[in-house]
């Protein structure tokens, strides 16, 4: 019994550290949707800093620890958030998963580099290598006490427990009982809505990252005596604690915390009682990863359809439709030049490096298949490489010829890939990535520990093949052979992409449900992709091993696979030729840097980490960014004054400042018309590559309801977004209360009194009714007033808002507005999905707001109902206001026209109701232009990839 107690108690130590790390992971994940692979590196950095400051500079332990945890670590989190995480929150999932891998290696290198610099400067730092038994916050060596026989506790353990408990309570208080915690939880629930409510999601994201970093820092300082100064161990520790974050579904801090504690105990119990597995080498080592994998399989909610990152919209391919020469000419020329170079100019050393780069390119191309075509992030590619090479080596040691052994190795890798894919396919995105990582570690620790497969540390010899007169033992021949293979792989994959099965794969990637409806088997396609990719990686692995002429089981570890992915994604993962660039860069750059730039080994690693920063700006990689950027620059140059449709319209969220609205000279441009609460003037807007609004003019006055009607895809929601500041107009202006607010984002717009009730429900489903209200109405008296008015809400104030009925949710969204009427309310389909009686109630509330002086822009499809309350009606068709006038002038045929989207522009332009509702005259001529591309394109963006 005392055994059990001992296992549990000491398991709680690592459990406490897991809990701290997992909590940090959950916080940062909820702040920006990133799984922060570098979280362990942050902890390491703090451990290193603590060691240097405490042991090197002789600073006292506790103040140093406090300084690091409360100041330095949060500052680091804040800086990283500003520099990259904030931007990464808005890019596709692949870039998100990968971006922090760069930091994972860069942060430790940064720390060591600083230590190196300090040492050169004569500071009393201590070397960071070969340090064991480091002092923690407590006494060193730790004082220990025997509780009962066989159960001991030492001071380091005690400190870890106490700190963790304090943090747990502190976090609970912060999240549950402070306005800041409430806002943080709201941001987790619905980031956009937080912005619409006038709270800066960016600032909240900063706070979350600071907290997360501080937790990592605390874990780092506490773990110093246990883990020493091994960045590698800290990262492994982090992966294990990811299990706890999975347990908390990356959203629940209490669950993650409890999960961390439980994980430590479980791990200890397994270690203590797993004697059944003594015959399986590596089983005990692999326990944490078994738990991680099982946890992912059991606990991950099925999200979307298997393994798809739907948010990964493909970049616009500006080379589409160009001739073959245009598309492939440069690549062909480069390949030919490279081949010629092998026999003319390169020295033996550089020939070898180039051959190596080409060999690794073959492996890298496999990422193009699984991640580029399949949008699945596989962190197990190194496993396929090792597996294939080991099998090939084993067979060659039995006298198999090279080609046959390579084929067998490739098949083995493909089978391994299918095995990895089968359980992993029901997972998506980040969970899939973590599951493949867990499997990669399992393979390293169990599969590749099998003596007959790995042949000890000796590994297997893989002599380079000799085909007749072609002897690949010559690096130059090897290089050219690799070039041919790489070219074949690139050509093959490009052909596959254009073939029906390739289109099926792209369809599965973009819209699994639609693909399924078209008779494409999603599971089979994904399995095929995974298998193909694993086979390709395996083949590349055999080639790479034959470049090395040997394979040992430790040549390519799971961590290697992680770095590879980062290198490939940084270059671009959508085209196989980008992977070749990545392979060459990976092989060449370190040598070029050390030859011509710096001798420091840390600096190149730090530079590599900056790839993550680059990815935040160009999520599709630097190779893909080149044509896009060139195209944009050309477009900007050739277009001159922005023309509607060709303007580079970008989401404001994309980070670029909106262009200055191109206002006609001479008009009363500096201010909006007197008396309007909200005015849109000649607004053009759209999404990257697809214009939706082609000059919308609208004006709403205080105490007026303007109903905006229009068919599906007419641009109603886009108009709302522009009005609320979620989307920056490409041209035109937005005035709020007569003031030019075009450049204001959603937060400032909201603070200026413009409130958007978005399509669906404008509530935070994860928060309780009380908390939802408290976000807008901090005073208790105000909330009580709401409860008085809506007794149904009062009765359930502790219930999560998500469990309310649609009508109640809409009431909850509108209730605080009644108490504090905003200047402008933009309601996007407030009646959507509500019962007719509830709809009446909602419209009554809106009318009440009008009485309070609010200007309402009401977007509706239910024309009949809305006409009952509207003062003014505007029709939106094909991105333009085709008619605008008082309600009583609305005619049935106009209504029909508006809905069928055939409202006639130009000569048939209906008479305008009054000057204040008319758009500026200069918008007229533009209406003759074709409204292409169709606004529909914006909604279906990503379905068909070029």
């Amino acid at each position: 019994m005392s055994d059990l107690l001992g296992f549990v108690l000491s398991g709680l130590v690592s459990g406490a550290l897991y809990a701290l790390l997992a909590t940090g992971l959950v916080l940062s994940y909820s702040a920006s949707g990133l799984f922060n692979f570098a979280h362990g590196a942050t902890a390491y950095l703090c451990a290193l800093a603590f060691y240097e400051l405490h042991s090197g500079f002789g600073w006292p332990a506790v103040p140093t620890a406090l300084l690091l945890v409360c100041v330095v670590a949060p500052a680091l989190g804040w800086g990283l958030d500003r520099l990259m995480f904030r931007k990464l929150a808005r890019v596709g999932e692949t870039a998100q998963i990968v971006a922090t891998i760069g930091l994972l290696v860069a942060l430790p290198a940064l720390g060591l580099w600083v230590v190196e610099l300090l040492e050169d400067a004569g500071a009393p730092v201590k070397p960071a290598e070969n340090q064991f038994g480091l002092p923690g916050v407590g006494p060193s060596p730790a004082v220990s006490w025997q509780l009962v026989d066989g159960v001991g506790v030492d001071s380091d353990q005690l400190i870890t427990w106490v700190c963790t408990a304090v943090v747990a309570v502190g976090l609970w208080v912060l999240m549950r009982h402070t306005p800041l915690g409430l806002k943080l939880r709201a941001a987790v629930d619905n980031r956009t809505l937080v912005e619409l409510r006038g709270m800066s999601a960016d600032r909240l994201s900063s706070v979350a990252w600071m907290l997360s970093s501080a937790l990592a820092g605390l874990a780092g300082v506490l773990a110093t005596p246990l883990l020493g100064l091994s960045a590698h161990d800290f990262t492994l520790f982090l992966f294990v604690s990811a299990t706890a974050a999975v347990l908390g579904r990356f959203a629940s801090i209490p669950l993650a915390f409890a999960g961390g504690l439980g994980l430590g105990v479980l791990q200890n119990l397994v270690a203590g009682y797993a004697s059944f597995a003594d015959s399986i080498t590596g089983f005990r080592t692999a326990v944490p990863f078994l738990i991680l994998f099982a946890g992912l399989l059991l606990l991950t909610r099925r999200q979307r359809t298997a393994g798809t990152a739907a948010s990964d919209a493909p970049p616009v391919d500006y080379l589409t439709g160009r001739s073959w020469t245009r598309r492939w000419g440069p690549w062909t020329v480069a390949a030919v030049l490279l081949a010629v170079a092998f026999y003319t100019v390169t020295t033996p050393f550089w020939s070898g490096i180039l051959a190596q780069g080409l060999a690794i390119s073959l492996v890298f191309i496999s990422f193009t298949v699984v991640t580029g075509l399949g949008a699945m992030v596989s962190l197990a590619q190194a496993t396929f490489v090792t597996g294939a090479a080991l099998v090939a080596g084993l067979l060659m040691s039995h006298g198999w010829p090279f080609a046959a052994a390579a084929l067998a190795g490739t098949c083995a890798a493909a089978v391994l890939g299918a095995l990895v894919a089968l359980p992993a396919l029901r997972l998506g995105g980040r969970s899939l990535a973590l599951a493949t990582l867990a499997l990669a570690f399992l393979a390293d620790q169990v599969l590749f520990q099998m003596g007959w497969l790995r042949n000890g540390d000796t590994g297997w010899e893989i002599p380079r093949p000799v085909f007749g007169p072609v002897d690949l033992n010559d690096d130059r021949a090897m290089g050219v052979a690799m070039l041919v293979l790489v070219t074949a792989a690139v050509a093959g994959l490009s052909a596959l992409r254009g073939s029906p099965s390739g289109r099926a794969m792209l369809a599965v990637r973009s819209a699994p449900a639609a693909a399924m409806a078209s008779g494409v088997s999603v599971v089979r396609t994904k399995l095929l992709l995974f298998t193909l990719s694993a086979g390709l990686a395996g083949f590349g692995g055999v080639m790479y091993a034959s470049y090395n002429t040997r394979i040992t089981a430790t040549d390519f570890t799971a961590m290697t696979g992680l770095i590879w992915l980062a290198v490939v994604v940084a270059a671009g993962v959508r085209r196989p030729q980008f992977a070749v660039v990545a392979g060459l860069v990976f092989a060449l750059v370190p040598h070029l840097v050390s030859d011509y730039v710096t001798e420091s080994v840390h600096l190149p690693v730090i530079l590599f980490g900056l790839a993550g920063l680059a990815l935040a700006n160009d999520p599709d990689g630097y190779c893909a960014a080149v044509p896009v950027r060139l195209h944009r620059r050309r477009a900007a140059v050739s277009a001159g004054p922005p023309l509607p449709g060709s303007i580079d319209m970008r989401l404001r969220r994309g980070g670029a400042p909106p262009q200055t609205p191109d206002r006609p000279s001479g008009s009363s441009s500096s201010a909006g018309q007197a008396g309007t609460a909200l005015e849109l003037r000649a607004v053009h807007a759209g999404y990257d590559g697809a214009a939706v609004l082609h000059g919308v003019d609208l004006a709403v006055h205080p105490g007026e309801i303007l109903a905006l009607l229009g068919s599906n895809g007419a641009g109603k929601s886009t108009t709302c977004k522009v009005a609320a500041g979620l989307l920056a107009p490409g041209a035109g202006a937005v005035y709020v209360g007569g003031r030019d607010a075009t450049r204001d984002g959603a937060v400032r717009r909201s603070r200026a009194g413009v409130v958007l009730a978005p399509e669906g429900r404008g509530i935070f489903p994860g928060l309780t009714i009380e908390e939802n209200l408290a976000l807008r109405l901090p005073g208790k008296g105000e909330r009580d007033a709401v409860y008085e008015r809506f007794p149904s809400l009062a009765a359930r104030r502790r219930v999560a808002a998500g469990s309310l009925s649609g009508g109640e949710q809409q009431m909850l969204a509108l209730a605080p507005l009644l108490l504090r009427p905003p200047q402008v309310l933009i309601a996007d389909e407030p009646s959507l999905g509500l019962a007719p009686r509830v709809v009446d109630e909602v419209f009554r509330l809106l009318a009440e707001l009008r009485e309070a002086g609010t200007a309402l822009l009401l977007v509706e499809e239910k024309a009949a109902e809305v006409l009952g309350v509207a003062d003014t009606v505007a029709y939106l068709a094909q991105g333009r206001v085709s008619w605008c006038g008082p309600r009583d002038q609305v005619q049935a045929d106009r209504l029909t026209e508006a809905y069928l989207g055939i409202a006639a522009p130009g000569p048939d332009r209906p008479e305008q109701a009054g000057p204040e509702q008319a758009g500026p005259a200069q918008s007229g001529p533009e209406q003759a232009g074709p409204a292409s591309p169709g606004p529909q394109a914006s909604r279906t963006r990503g379905v068909v990839q070029p």
Partner: protein, 419 residues
């Protein structure tokens, strides 16, 4: 429209070519191809050598002082007039960062770009450059703890091949040395613990045979400790070990693990009041004495080493200390990596000396074949015996009251066949 893209691609290609040309130019000028029949890296008055050492690593384990050790030995050789009238031009060591790809690249760089005659020292946890060096006929000297030091004709371990292989031999230094500590092996029980991976399994297999054949009774021998992260709790292991001798504790606990593991294991064992002998092969690092925690954790532990302990006062050791002090320019704490570098260089110099004035790779190899000397820091050396087994010499030191004391003096023992 596409001109910029094309230009860019062309520019990239041109850049690539320029790089290649550039490197051709830079490395071409440095090569010793001046006269016909010359030997790579050897001129009339110099021999060029360079090393490969893992210095920076993500695991926090570094062997960078190997470089200093080699430099110290080469400095003395040069001060004494060089080898066969040639000075040693030591280029320093390339850092392979424990990365197999970098290890191979470093070997290629040294041979193809720097054109060294020999690679000295080579000390890392990975040696993927071995096949290349063997094929290019580059004499290479390093720490023979990797299989590549066993067999290949151009690769030499400074203490011989230290990886026993079935059919070969096992060094008996450890069990024999322990007899000095506990007064013979008769009726003594031993528990051996290793990490849960292939290396641990192999270590258990080796040492189980080694201790058994020296007359000990092995009561526990398991590779069960998770290999990737140090356990925070050792009670599960200590309990089993300390009851392995029919419910009693064994006389000796042998750890075949790295320092961080040993710290945890030994601390946990000592907390139970264990009074037997603790021993491991990795913790001979005077740096460990600098910290209270490690000093306390490892107090009383007997550490195996395969060279003369720094505490042993012999002429060779005094020379070593003086050479290191000169090369470092000040008194530095000594560690085993310095010995690695120093003795790798020493073996190279001894063989080169024997090869004489007419130094070529062939003459060097010929000199190595049948080379032997005695009384060095690593005992009696002999080639080609060192290609298949270790020189079989070692000592035990005990950490006592904050310093190491010799508990079993440096001696060479007869190896046993490995079944």
């Amino acid at each position: 429209m596409l001109r910029p893209t094309r230009t860019l691609a062309a520019a990239a290609a041109a850049l690539l070519l320029a790089t290649a040309c550039n490197s051709a130019a830079t490395s071409g000028s440095g090569s010793g191809d001046g006269k016909a029949g010359s030997v790579r890296g050897v001129t009339d008055d110099s021999i060029k050598v360079g090393g490969i050492v893992s210095m920076t690593t993500a695991s926090g384990y570094s062997k960078k002082d190997t470089d200093l050790g080699a430099k110290a030995r080469f400095d003395r050789a040069n001060a004494e007039g060089g080898v066969g009238g040639r000075k040693i031009e030591y280029l320093g060591a390339e850092d392979d960062g424990q990365d197999p790809a970098k290890n191979l690249a470093a070997a290629r760089k040294l041979v193809q770009q720097d054109k060294v005659f020999a690679v000295v020292p080579m000390s890392s946890i990975t040696f993927s450059g071995a096949d290349f060096l063997q094929k290019q006929k580059v004499p290479t000297f390093g720490w023979g703890t990797l299989p590549s030091f066993c067999g290949p004709t151009y690769i030499y371990g400074f203490g011989g091949c230290m990886v026993p292989s079935p059919g070969g031999t096992i060094s008996q230094t450890w069990p024999e040395g322990l007899k000095d500590v506990i007064g013979g092996s008769e009726g003594k029980t031993v528990a051996i613990l290793a990490t849960d991976n292939d290396a641990g399994t192999f270590a258990i297999r080796t040492y189980k045979q080694s201790f058994t054949s020296a007359g000990y009774k092995v009561t526990y021998a398991k590779p069960v400790v998770p290999a990737t992260s140090v356990p925070s709790d050792w009670s599960a292991y200590t309990k089993e070990i300390l009851h392995s001798d029919g419910g009693k504790a064994p006389d000796v606990v042998v750890s075949v693990m790295q320092t961080p593991y040993n710290i945890g294991l030994f601390t946990a064992i000592k907390r139970t009041g264990y009074k037997g002998v603790l021993t491991d092969p990795t913790d001979y690092d005077p740096g460990l004495l600098a910290k209270n925690a490690t000093r306390k954790a490892l107090d009383g532990v007997h550490v195996l080493l395969s060279f003369q302990p720094f505490e042993q006062d012999t002429a060779e050791m005094r020379q070593f200390k003086e050479d290191i002090r000169k090369a470092a320019g000040k008194d530095v704490p000594l560690n085993m990596h310095m010995v690695t570098g120093y003795m790798s260089a020493d073996l190279f110099l001894a063989i080169a000396e024997k090869a004489g004035k007419d130094l070529t790779v062939a003459s060097f190899q010929e000199a190595a074949n049948g080379f032997s000397d005695t009384g060095t820091l690593v005992g009696d050396r002999a080639e080609p015996r060192g290609r298949t087994e270790s020189f079989g010499c070692g000592a035990l030191v005990q950490l006592k009251d904050g310093r190491y004391v010799v508990s079993s003096p440096f001696e060479c023992y007869e190896p046993i066949p490995f079944k």
